[in-house]
Assembly symmetry: C2
Homo-oligomer: 496 residues x 2
């Protein structure tokens, strides 16, 4: 006779297995799906999503949770985490009817396609009806869950424990330090040379990025890299995949998007395998997830030590494309800061302003104070105000990101929170291993990965976002570390 905890775990695992199939289908849609097959995929998701939902809301899960609650304090630490997280997920999901889940899955699949096509021509009007429906369903979801603050509920669903107020506080403090710093850097006479490395054959780029990501610690025996329009990572401990996107005129871009996704993937690959399928084998949330991707991409990947090791290899492998480029020119181009319209192409200094822009807009889209038809103009106005540039069209404006097309409202703040957390962890690592960057200069990354495994990955969802930060760094999220890091990294380059 299995115990309630065993029954609970078996049921949660079953739901995870099904959800991971949905993950493969989503991966396939972005990586492989033939253009004429999208409607069939949408209908597959319409039928399959309610089955995933049904497994995750099986009444036996509720009964097991009740039985565990009845045991009161006589539970293990692990059971307590299971109870808290599984209860939280279960309560939310059981409030959503299967019909709603099917409707949302069908819409997401169609809306993703509509956005993909609209983005090509910057045709916001073609996408607007889908965005309207996505907002309507997101509000409906919040109402079904009984959220008093719909946008806050969305934030909390991605990064447990975070609130709109807390994010406003953090972003406002960050902005106060960041705007003058970025303006100083942007005004610097030091400028990276544009188009430094062009037209390196795709196979060479792929081979190099595989070498780099494997050296960082990405386990290719449980992963793979493919090409998609928008780089992403997906999966869990057992099967975790990353994608990249090659740009003819920007070799650096595909490498860094791969390192970013590798950061995500290594978090999942570092979760405790024995707990996969339960909250103890899941990531804290998306803010911490983004801290892992951004830490590897920026703190590590844009460091001088990192390039001390990789520059000679890259020079050799990309020969003759780097022959006329000095180390310093390459390093400056990797850390180029310029006014940039597209978030994913943005340097790490102004990147956070892109996120603040989206946070301001989606908050108002959800509370209704911003009409959908006003979005393109309002995006452009805020872009000018925060970034100092105005998009020439919606492709580089409000259609640039995929998130809203599949109803991911409340996700964007995770990127900026992730940047703050990454910087905070970065200084915490240095406190413990002062010579950590010397590792990078000899192509060694296992001490850093080991530290992250111990302090972040292996904990699963034991702690919420800021609780984790407090445990690891001794304080809640603070923008001061990100500001300090940016000054230390970019000051010597631009403000000497």
């Amino acid at each position: 006779m299995p115990t309630p905890a065993e029954t609970l775990i078996a049921d949660l695992r079953k739901a995870t297995l099904l959800n991971s199939i949905a993950g493969i289908l989503d991966w396939d849609q972005q990586v492989n799906l033939p253009p004429g097959s999208t409607e069939w995929r949408a209908r597959q998701m319409e039928v399959f999503s309610p089955l995933c939902h049904k497994a995750a809301t099986h009444p036996r899960i509720g009964r097991s949770l009740d039985a565990l609650d009845a045991k009161g304090e006589a539970t293990t630490a692990e059971e307590k985490v299971l109870r808290r997280c599984a209860r939280r997920d279960y309560e939310r999901l059981t409030k959503l009817p299967a019909r709603f889940v099917a409707q949302k899955a069908l819409l997401d699949s169609r809306s993703f396609q509509a956005w993909s096509e609209a983005k090509k021509n910057g045709d916001f009007k073609k996408f607007a009806p889908f965005l309207t429906k996505e907002i309507t369903l997101s509000r409906k979801r919040a109402a079904l869950i009984g959220a008093l603050d719909p946008y806050g509920e969305m934030i909390d669903s991605f990064s447990p424990g975070m609130t709109v107020g807390r994010i406003e506080e953090l972003f406002s403090e960050l902005k106060a330090g960041l705007v003058p710093l970025s303006e100083k850097i942007l005004a610097s006479p030091v400028k990276a040379k544009p188009d430094l490395i062009r037209d390196v054959p795709t196979e060479k780029q792929l081979s190099f990025l595989k070498k780099v990501t494997a050296a960082l610690g990405y386990d290719y025996s449980r992963g793979r890299v493919d090409v998609s329009e928008h780089p992403f990572s997906t999966g869990n401990y057992f099967d975790n995949r990353i994608t990249t996107h090659f740009k003819q005129d920007n070799v650096i871009s595909s490498l860094f998007s791969s390192i970013h996704e590798t950061g995500h993937a290594m978090y999942e690959q570092g979760l405790p395998p024995e707990w996969i399928g339960t909250p103890l084998g899941e990531a804290v949330g998306m803010a911490v997830h983004e801290s892992q991707s951004r830490l590897w991409e920026n703190q590590v990947g844009r460091s001088r030590a990192f390039w001390k090791y990789w520059e000679p290899i890259m020079r050799r492998e990309f020969s003759p494309h780097l022959d006329a480029v000095s180390f310093e020119e390459l390093y400056l181009s990797i850390n180029e800061v310029s006014r940039c319209l597209v978030r994913t192409d943005s340097n790490e200094v102004t990147y956070n302003l892109h996120v603040i822009l989206r946070f301001e807009l989606e908050k108002r889209l959800i509370d209704g104070s911003l009409q959908i038809k006003e979005l393109p103009a309002e995006w452009n106005r805020l872009s000018q105000e925060l970034l100092g540039v105005t998009p020439r069209n919606n492709t580089e404006g409000c259609l640039q990101d995929v998130h809203w097309a599949t109803g991911l409202f409340g996700y964007f703040p995770s990127y900026c929170l992730g940047n703050m957390i990454a910087a905070q962890l970065w200084y915490a690592v240095h406190k413990e291993i002062p010579a950590i960057e010397e590792d990078f200069a000899i192509g060694k990354f296992d001490r850093l990965l080991g530290w992250l495994r111990t302090h972040v990955h292996c904990k699963g969802r034991r702690l919420e976002t800021e609780e984790l930060l407090e445990e690891v760094t001794g304080e809640k999220i603070s923008p001061k570390y990100l500001l300090k890091y940016l000054s230390e990294r970019y000051g010597p380059l631009y403000l000497r």
Copy 2:
């Protein structure tokens, strides 16, 4: 209020949508799955397969069928087909418990992996326990279904209407004509030059085979080609994928496996889209399916007219690899006949003997008159008897094919039946369009595809295997057309 037919169709479509997800997962396992992710995939299938089964055995399907039966004769022709086929499928599936389906899915996934690894080293002992379990479950399935003749049930499940007796009759007649013919050809002093074209870069091969398959009529907007260890095709009208496998020393091999899979894919792509998800939008069975792949691969792809058009293009695209090869040398090498150990590498003359070998063995494996431990020796003995060669190891012997590793007993005869049907259709096409081969010489294939669409594809499962043949060609399956075709194609080359 939907009619019983409408309810039935909606329920069948739902089951098809879920099954097509299983198809994507299987495709992914063969094309993409990282080596360390196979056990997770096995567990995904263990959880997902019973859900597919549950959808296909929903009691409402039974009720709709009963309601349609109660209407008696007052049904449309389409409803009659729906009723007959859906009843057949439903009766079979409802006899299988969900637990059995889960157990089989888990075994198939693990057994496929075990076979893949065993094949590498020819290690039959490592695979034997999985084969034992596959045979046990296949017998159990037949018993659950209540089949008096287990192997016959398997045959019928792949090619409706076919029986063991009928196949024995056809194979015996074929063998009587084929053995002397193939011995005459094998004794001919005419020999194709070995290793005619080697080391053509994979990208060039891929680009050429895409051109060829698109010209034949494969719709890439609803399809794609990838690489897998064992070429296959999968999917339906809306999303149909083929794979190929590149061999360094045999450029012809990957081209012909692509044409073969294209034949399968074009059948699916030619089914009536409005009926997809119902028996009217499904193929008759695997014998007819193989007739489509083999017809395009052999009757079309190995014809002189076909190469009149494609040889100059191949010569240009593969330059300089074909510079020293004449048209006649190339054409003979495409139609090389030699004693060969591996079915998938085999020429079309001796190919059928490979199938007869497997038919004899699997019949005895299922009825228990052949012990699993005796299989390698018995395979080798029959190989010497039928093909005149003995495998040097199990990799080129009893481990060469994937089918038994996932319990596909009763499938092999489809290949030989498909060859007979292909030849029979080939002469039927000629009767109607005598100049059809002149089309191929100018790169035109739409008249042939159109004929197949009208006479085979658009009919779905309206008729069973031999009924279809009778309707299209005026007689049941007859080996004489295959023998006639082989004499006419290979006589002028080898027996002049």
